[in-house]
């Protein structure tokens, strides 16, 4: 069953995927799986970044993720979908977001995975405040182009 959730602690996206596919019990209706993992970089806009705080809007963030996922399932006839997103304090190299989709064919899987990520970046209420190497912090003003 499609699922989305927020996590306050670090997670291993590959372990989650292994658990998820094990729970699918060898389902053979899908022929394509597309996965995106977003990881925290140790640099941004030319500066070294040592950490990040990810704020969200409790309630609205979950609603937005659920809506983005359900819209994609409907539009691309996905067999399954999974979105996991971190909130709170995050360190470089930790995973920020996992998006995985399962469909009959690759075109739908690739397109839906990309669409979910781009829509999430534009619509889901999350805000990053990054800490720089000198200890100062700043809000990230905008997303990178892609």
């Amino acid at each position: 069953m499609a699922h989305c959730e927020l996590r306050e602690t670090s997670f291993d996206p590959w372990q989650l995927l292994a658990e998820w596919t094990a729970a699918q019990q060898g389902a053979s209706r899908y022929g394509a799986t597309a996965v995106f993992v977003g990881t925290m970089r140790d640099f941004n806009e030319g500066d070294a970044v040592t950490g990040m705080y990810l704020e969200h809007y409790p309630g609205m963030t979950e609603r937005q993720l659920e809506q983005i996922m359900q819209d994609a399932i409907r539009e691309w006839h996905l067999d399954d979908a999974l979105i996991v997103h971190r909130v709170g304090e995050i360190l470089p190299a930790e995973s920020i977001v996992l998006v995985a989709v399962w469909s009959a064919h690759r075109a739908e899987a690739f397109t839906a995975c990309r669409h979910i990520m781009e829509t999430l970046k534009h619509n889901a209420p999350f805000w990053k405040r990054e800490t720089l190497i000198d200890g100062s912090s700043r809000w990230v003003e905008r997303n990178t182009a892609g």
Binding site: G59, M60, W127, W139, E141
Partner: protein, 77 residues
């Protein structure tokens, strides 16, 4: 009518408050809620708005018991 107003991220820090409970006479738009809740602060050009956790326009009408939120462009993912 009573309206709950929320501010997030850099906007919350700039205004120095996370939430405001407003008591308004009659009807109000989102823009009027902003003016009341901030004491007439200039509205940031790129601000995003939601009513009851659904995106809304500044011209939208607010009803009794609504939760209205103002926040900067989102940067998740």
């Amino acid at each position: 009518m009573q309206v709950k107003v929320l501010f997030f991220a850099g906007l919350r820090e700039r205004l120095g408050k996370a939430d405001v409970a407003l008591e308004l006479p009659g009807t109000a738009t989102v823009l009027e809620v902003w003016q009341q809740a901030t004491g007439g602060e200039t509205l940031p050009a790129n601000v995003l708005v939601s009513i009851n956790q659904v995106y809304a326009e500044l011209s939208a009408s607010v009803a009794d018991g609504d939760e209205v939120a103002f926040f900067p462009p989102v940067t998740g993912g």
